[in-house]
Amino acid sequence: MQARRLEILPSFQAAVEALAPDVRARVAEALVHFTERSADNSLRPELKNGFENVWSIRISKGYRAFYKKLRDSEGAIYLMFHVGHHDDYRALKKLASRVTVSISTSSKAGMQVSVQTGGGRGRQERKR
C-alpha cells in the first residue's frame, strides 16, 4: 500500500518544538507509522466532531496531532497543522449509560422521582 503524503505546516513544526523531548520523539514515531499505514489501530485516526475537516491521531495518552485531509494532483495529502494536549474523556462516558432523570408532581400522586436507564429497559419510580 502506498505511503501517505504529509505536509508539515509551520504551525505543526512550531507546536512540535514547544513539546518536551520525549513527546517530540513520540510525534515523530507516530508520523512514521501514519505515513506507512503501519499502526492505524493505535493511532486511531478520527474526524474531530464539531470541526470542519479536522482529523486527529493519537500520539500518547494526553496528546493528539491534528491534520486536514485534502486532495491534489498527486492524490491525497495530509496537512499536519497542530499537535497538543488533548485528554480523552470517552472512558468516563463509557462508564455512563444513557439515563434521564426527571421529577414530576401531581396533586393525586404526590412527587414522583423517575430515573430512566438506557434503551428504556428499566424505569424505576418512587412516590412520596
Binding site: 505511503a3 501517505r4 503524503r5 504529509l6 505536509e7 508539515i8 505546516l9 509551520p10 504551525s11 505543526f12 513544526q13 512550531a14 507546536a15 512540535v16 518544538e17 523531548p21 517530540r24 510525534v27 515523530a28 508520523l31 512514521v32 507509522h33 505515513t35 506507512e36 474531530k48 464539531g50 470541526f51 479536522v54 491534528f66 495529502i77 497543522f81 497542530h82 497538543g84 494536549h85 488533548h86 485528554d87 474523556y89 470517552r90 468516563l92 462516558k93 462508564l95 455512563a96 449509560s97 444513557r98 439515563v99 434521564t100 432523570v101 426527571s102 421529577i103 412527587m111 422521582v113 430515573v115 430512566q116 436507564t117 428499566g122 424505576q124 418512587r126 412520596r128
Partner: protein
C-alpha cells in the same frame, strides 16, 4: 469596539450550580452508605448540573467561534487558550475524586439501580463539561495555527512521504535544536 476585549472567555460566567460539590459528594460518596432511594432534592440538583453543562457547552462554542473569527493576535489566542486549559484542569481535578467507580450500598436492588443511574448521569455530564472546555481551547489553538501558517506562507513547503523521510526531517530538526541550545 469589540465586545470581546482581550479575548477573555466570558462563558465562565455561566455559574456552576452552588451545590454541585455536595451533589457529587452525595451521589458518589454518601450513596456508598445510603440505604434508601436518592431523594428528590438530589435528583433536582443533578438536573440543574445537567442544564448547566448544556448551557456551558453552547456558550463556549459560540464564544470561541466568535473569538476565532475576530482574533488574529497570536498572544491573545494563546492567553485565551491557556485560560481554558486552566479551567479544564481545575474542573478535572475537582471532578476526579468522584467519578471513579463507587458502588451504592442500598440493599434494595431498585434503590441501588437508581443511585447507579444518577452516578452515570453525572459521569456523562462531567465528561461533556470537560470536553466542552477542551474543544473550545482546541478551536483557539487551531486559529492560532492558521495565523502562524498565513504569516509563514511564502516559505518552501515540506512534503514528506514514508518513514525514512519523516525520521530524517525530525532527526535533523532535533539536531538543529540541540546545536542552538
Amino acid at each position: 469596539m469589540s465586545d470581546i476585549p482581550d479575548g477573555k472567555i466570558q462563558a465562565a460566567k455561566v455559574d456552576l450550580p452552588a451545590r454541585t460539590d455536595q451533589l457529587f459528594n452525595a451521589v458518589f460518596v454518601l450513596s456508598t452508605s445510603a440505604t434508601g432511594q436518592p431523594g428528590a432534592p438530589v435528583v433536582a440538583e443533578a438536573n440543574a448540573y445537567g442544564a448547566y453543562v448544556r448551557q456551558l457547552a453552547l456558550r463556549l462554542e459560540a464564544e470561541t467561534r466568535k473569538l476565532a473569527a475576530r482574533l488574529s493576535d497570536e498572544e491573545k489566542l494563546v492567553a485565551a487558550a491557556q485560560e481554558l486549559m486552566q479551567m479544564e484542569s481545575q474542573r478535572r481535578m475537582a471532578l476526579q475524586p468522584y467519578v471513579a467507580a463507587a458502588r451504592p450500598a442500598a440493599a434494595k436492588a431498585q434503590a441501588a439501580a437508581n443511585w447507579r443511574a444518577l452516578q452515570n448521569y453525572l459521569r456523562d455530564h462531567a465528561a461533556r463539561e470537560l470536553e466542552a472546555l477542551r474543544d473550545a481551547r482546541l478551536r483557539l489553538e487551531l486559529r492560532r495555527a492558521e495565523v502562524i501558517n498565513q504569516r509563514s506562507a511564502p516559505q518552501v513547503r515540506i512534503v514528506l512521504q514514508g518513514g525514512a523521510q519523516i525520521r530524517l526531517h525530525f532527526g535533523k530538526r532535533a539536531g538543529d535544536a540541540s546545536q542552538k541550545a
